[in-house]
Amino acid sequence: MPRINSPDELEKVRQEVLSRRDPNEPCISICAGAGCLASGAGEVISAFQAEIDKQGLKREVNTKGTGCPGFCERGPVVVIYPEEICYLQVKPEDVPEIVSQTIKEKKVVDRLLYVDPSTGEKATCESDIPFYKNQERILLSSNIKIDPKNIDDYLAIGGYSALPKVLFQMTSDEVVEEVKKSNLRGRGGGGFPAGRKWEGSRNAPEPIKYVIVNADEGDPGAFMDRAVLEGNPHSVLEGLIIGAYAVGSHEGYIYVRQEYPLAVENVNIAIRQAEEYGFLGKNILGSGFDFIVKVHQGAGAFVCGESTALMTALEGRAGEPRPKYIRSNVVGLWGRPSVLNNVETWANVPLIINKGADWFTQYGTESSKGTKIFSLVGKINNTGLVEVPMGITLKDIIYKIGGGIPGGKRFKAVQTGGPSGGCIPEELLDLEVGFDELSKVGSMMGSGGMIVMDEDTCMVDVSRYFLNFLTDESCGKCVPCREGIRQMLKILTNITQGKGKESDIELLEELSETAKEAALCALGKSAPNPFLSTLQYFRDEYEAHIKEKRCPALSCKELISYYIDPEKCKACTICGRKCPSDAIQGGKNLIHIVDQEKCTKCGTCLEVCPSRYDAVRKISGEPVPPPIPEEARTVVRKSKQK
């Protein structure tokens, strides 16, 4: 492919790509995102290729592995164009039927469609499925249409059209103004207005500047940046090049965690293709603007998601944050002005340029504009990525899109903002989602993790979990974080083990205040949030653990016991056979008893006990009833009574 040297040539190339594609030609898109690959999408893709070959359709049918459309719960997801038929949970053995029925005969395979659990109605297209219907997918909707390894796919959906517009029709001032007008705020957690960040860098006197993509998505339970970078890397690149032009930078970095090997691979391929086509390198599209991008892999440190720590890591040193007396957009990487934005922020830029700031600001609330991708996970029916307009209520996300809580359980809380965020209880579910709205209730937007918890989740344990994570990830540079969080973790661990003292809550509050005031970076400053927000809304749970040594959610191992109800046990011996630690005494026709000494509380007995007996239960805060006497243990079966 020769380099493209002008906007006209680009349009010619685009037309040529489109002319090679017949919109009526069948195309099979199979999600090859990490979630679907883990549920077997790799085998499904091979099965499709083999079947297409076998049926001699290779010329007429295009098969491709695409980025993640978001519905991970029902993966692997397959969409058949041009009809846009959406099949879910496809297995390799379904493939021959799909090819012969849908591709050849144009018939829908009913059993692979989405079935609405409440109405029983089937949905043929993506857009009919409630999970998708209630979203506003301006970024994610392209994922299923493009093969991320093929730049032509991105060109075919109108990609790289914002770039020539910026390079030839706008001054860098105008670009910054447009982004400022859109009020695009950083999607990585901080929520700082991107336009103002860019402006600060552009006005800085130092001539060499950098632009950086933060793809060090470390929040556990969050994977939206990965989906964008894996599924549509060119959209991020295009945004980055536009940003570079706006601030006057000629060198950019993409910092991506090595735990995302597919993202690293796809972004490297994308850079190579963009260089070939002339979107990167010297004299881009003949405009005279030069820009190169390098990929830097993270080596596994959560703190490197913090902007100054990330820049330190880019310099080849241990990723420790610096104090931000001067912002990094003025003094950043190698002491030079550096604009660092998150993947999702960059991906929004081409859309804002193409469609205008006014289009972007039609979505959202007063202070938070546009859409946001959340990863909706935990105790929720439809796990996956959801893109919603800012201002939607939590209730709509969890019930309309997420389909509610599985197993008929009761909703307890939703945790947003990753380890630095907080838990929001049921009474606040009508809250509108936005940067400031979430901060007001003691949580935060964060990068967009949304973890749903039900009645079985212990809130003290959740706060212990996050502090454990943060203790592990604290870089150790400043004392309030290194020592303070560790002490908080110790106290919380004691509480979950039934060793809590009356004064613990006050001590935790005091440590929280110190960390908030004195820690160097956002990791330490926000580390007490999980504790403070759970204390605010679930103080009774803390008190039950401390005063009654009881875990109301029956989750903390040290505070619960497993018990077999002698009235219900039918001596079926399943639990005894499955118990990994031989802690169940019993046998044929003999009521089973849990040996509390041997029990490791793994919960296997509860899981395997047939639901029609429902004999195993957890108890907390009260003594285990004594085992029933030997002579009463024999089970007399009804059939043998006569």
């Binding site: 979630g35 991970c72 994977f223 080596a299 080849g316 996970v377 994570f469 499955k578 793994c602 919960g603």
Partner: protein
């Protein structure tokens, strides 16, 4: 690991001191751990003090200074897996292998690590063995899966 191969990797990065992390990552990926000789060679070729090489090699989680087992077990401890019972799965893996996170057994069969989110939350709790994800794990299934590895 061959000294020539280490040199090749260093040359690929033009002996840039700022590429220290990238060089270490490549060696870790190929060799699965960082032998002392490799670290010394890197310090010498990149002109970086040994203390800094060691600082990096111990600061970041991706690096190991001890040999790893034939099979790498990663138990996901991400929030979504945690609320679905990942700690019980981890307990079972620890019990079956006799090692704790960060350790390798004496036969060099398994190395156990915990990770903070593999990004397949729909399948939680997830245990990844040699790159293959096993989803919806419960203690009993964990035992079954582990017996498949020699």
């Amino acid at each position: 690991m061959e000294k020539d191969r280490i040199d090749q990797i260093i040359d690929k990065h033009h002996s840039e001191p700022s590429s220290l992390i990238q060089v270490l990552l490549e060696i870790q990926a190929e060799n699965h751990w960082l032998p002392k000789e490799a670290l010394e060679r890197i310090a010498e070729r990149l002109q970086v003090p040994m203390t800094r090489v060691q600082h990096i090699a111990t600061f970041y989680k991706a690096f190991s200074l001890v040999p790893k087992g034939r099979h790498q077990i990663h138990v996901c401890m991400g929030t979504a897996c945690h609320v679905r019972g990942a700690s019980r799965v981890l307990d079972t893996v620890e019990g079956l292998t006799g090692i704790r996170p960060g350790e390798t057994d004496l036969d060099l069969k398994f190395s156990l690590e915990t990770v903070n989110c593999l990004g397949c939350c729909a399948l939680g709790p997830v245990v990844e063995i040699d790159g293959k994800a096993h989803g919806k794990m419960a203690p009993a299934q964990t035992a079954e899966v582990l017996t498949n590895y020699e």
